[in-house]
Amino acid sequence: MTDIGLWGVPLAILGGAIRVSTPFLFVSLGECLTERSGRINLGLEGTLVFGAMTGYAVAYQSGSPWLGVLAAALAGAVFGLFHGWICKFRGVNDIAIGIAMMLLGMGLAFYFGKPFIQPVAPDLPAIPLGWWSDIPQVQAALQVNALFIVGGLLALALHWMFRATRIGLTIRVVGDSTDAARAIGLNPDTVRLLATAAGGALAGIGGAYLSLYYPGSWNEGISSGQGLMAVALVIFARWNPINCFWAALLFGGAGALGPALQSVGVSSGYYLFFAAPYVLTLALLILTSSPDKALHGAPGELSITK
């Protein structure tokens, strides 16, 4: 293996951004879609964990990781449908339901996931995009999973959908004003139900990526709060799918900083480096904030902005 010395740090950040960002990307795209329809689903952490468990279990039983991804998406959609269905009742708070759904999702995942901690399920394949390089480290960093590419394309597609399609317009109208939506004959509850279901399905896929590709194993601590961070990333990304993509990359890359710095000998203060993603997020939020348009881009019907 070539000695790459300090080049290991930028390489690890690049590799980490590609490897670690995918769950953040899928959950934040899902949440972005849900929030643009005017509803918050805080339960995506639970959906992520349940998706990870379902994906792993189905992949192990069937031998096909892609079947696992499909099952995780379906499970996520069911969670989303449940959330959307409860929230249509009068007086129900979507944030409270989200927290309840998060605990339910994790509890169910731990319960059903018990027998799958030890078995080894087949992993999702990676596409070697580092073929042009002779350096094994570069080749390893550029092992890109298909789901990462799908996630990137999905961000573009969602952006285009919100901007230029009828479905996008419908979701935006419902998200910005329930009254206006009703006035033009839309049913806000149905739109939100579908948007939450789709968002849940995306979060489920994010979970499958965790258990089936990186780190590629199911256990109860697999997510360590990534689903919650991804929900926060949506606000950070100002409800814009393209920004969600960059935010997820930033978060993944910054998370790789701690181990990479230790590996090149910068070893003191590693707890501080582990906080890098959060410090970066705070710094960027402060830098990009302005008193005039603090919640620029926020859907008008969102319960946190009302």
Binding site: A12, I117, V120, N219, S263, G265, Y270
Partner: protein
């Protein structure tokens, strides 16, 4: 979240029992059941008991206890090192009638066991890894094994297998047991070739899958071609290392099924013998030492079978050193030896044998380890 829900239920039951039966029948509570010749033993784990690691090693010991006559084993997994463990211990004592408890995680001892032990003088608390001191409650005890010797043997296998002369260690937290393992791993490798260095990466938590995978990748990027770890569940490290083409030395339990070709050997716990011994003594009413330690020779630890990638030269040195350790009194840390900041830790002729209690408050990384304890 599941544990806290069930604890609420226990709390409710506890309160209900206190209301309903406190005056009438305290002696009918199952807490006294062990007097009748049968024994209930409680095992508490910090993670899932099939994690290919720390908890699995203890659960294998618990399974051996379960097979004994007249013993009922109760287990609870995923109990955090917080007040939760006190609640779990109390409910095992009050509702399941456990008279002997094995709370196995490092953080359970201080303050949780130290707080509960005086309140339940008839219950025995046996803790893994703790340092029982003469001032601690007499019904508490701590046991541990000299697993650093296992990491020393891992180091010998690693020293022969490495081509880059760089080996890697994914560590959770810089506590003495972990530092001892890192140092022993490198010193074992240096017994093969003194030019070998060991890169260590701390993840900061006992179980953090994504960070463990990132750490393993970072080690592989820096050219480490043999990797071991000290985290609760080595599954992620083993799988990631194998995927990057690095050899693996196992820890806690046997991880060879995860990567049979890349697995050299591993330092495993062997709790079955230790636990059945303690339970036998307890049932016979014999005293158990408050401070129990043992190594390879005492059957506290064992080595995984050598994998197919281990060369004959490696096998010979491995077996010879193992025989040396089996005699007892082996010292990995012996002078002249400096730490990686240049301070002398053992002068010429000075040696810390495996059973030296000074090793249990180790706070340094030896020369040749690239990393820092803070």
């Amino acid at each position: 979240m599941k544990p806290s829900l069930s604890l609420t239920r226990r709390h409710f039951l506890g309160t209900a029992a206190a209301f309903g039966g406190a005056a009438v029948a305290p002696s009918l509570l199952p807490g006294q059941a062990h007097a009748a010749g049968s024994l209930t033993v409680g095992f508490i784990y910090v993670g899932p008991k099939d994690d290919f690691g720390y908890n699995q090693a203890h659960a294998e010991g618990a399974a051996a206890v379960k097979a004994m006559d007249g013993v009922t084993v109760i287990e609870e997994e995923n109990v955090p090192e917080t007040n939760d463990v006190q609640n779990t211990m109390q409910s095992m004592i009050n509702f399941d009638g456990a008279a002997l408890l094995f709370p196995t995680s490092f953080g359970y001892y201080n303050p949780h066991i130290l707080e509960l032990a005086p309140k339940f003088p008839d219950v025995r608390f046996e803790h893994c890894g703790g340092l029982w001191g003469a001032d601690d409650p007499k019904n508490a005890g701590s046991y541990f094994g000299y697993i650093g010797m296992g990491q020393y043997l891992n180091g010998i296998a690693a020293g022969h297998a490495t081509k880059s002369k760089k080996i890697g260690f994914v560590a959770a937290k810089p506590i003495p047991q972990v530092l001892n393992n890192i140092n022993s791993f490198l010193l074992g490798a240096r017994a093969v070739d003194p030019s070998i260095t060991c890169q260590v990466i701390f993840t900061g938590e006992w179980s953090l899958a994504v960070k463990e995978a990132e750490a393993t990748n970072a080690l592989a990027d820096q050219g480490c071609d043999v990797i071991t770890c000290h985290v609760d569940g080595p599954k992620v490290v083993a799988e990631t290392a194998a995927a990057r083409g690095a050899y693996i030395c196992g820890y806690h339990a046997d991880q060879s099924p995860l990567a049979p070709e890349m697995y050299l050997t591993g330092a495993e716990w062997n709790w079955a013998g230790v636990y059945t011994d303690m339970v036998t003594k307890f049932m016979a009413g014999e005293p158990i030492d408050n401070f129990v330690r043992g190594g390879l020779a005492d059957g506290f630890i064992k080595m995984s079978p050598l994998g197919p990638a281990v060369s004959d030269a490696a096998r010979n040195q491995f077996e010879a050193t193992k025989a040396e350790i089996m005699k007892g009194g082996f010292a990995a840390i012996k002078g002249p030896l400096k730490d990686n900041k240049g301070n002398m830790i053992a002068a010429e002729g000075e040696a810390f044998v495996e059973s030296d209690v000074a090793l249990e408050s180790m706070g340094y990384l030896v020369e040749g380890v690239i990393g820092s304890t803070s």
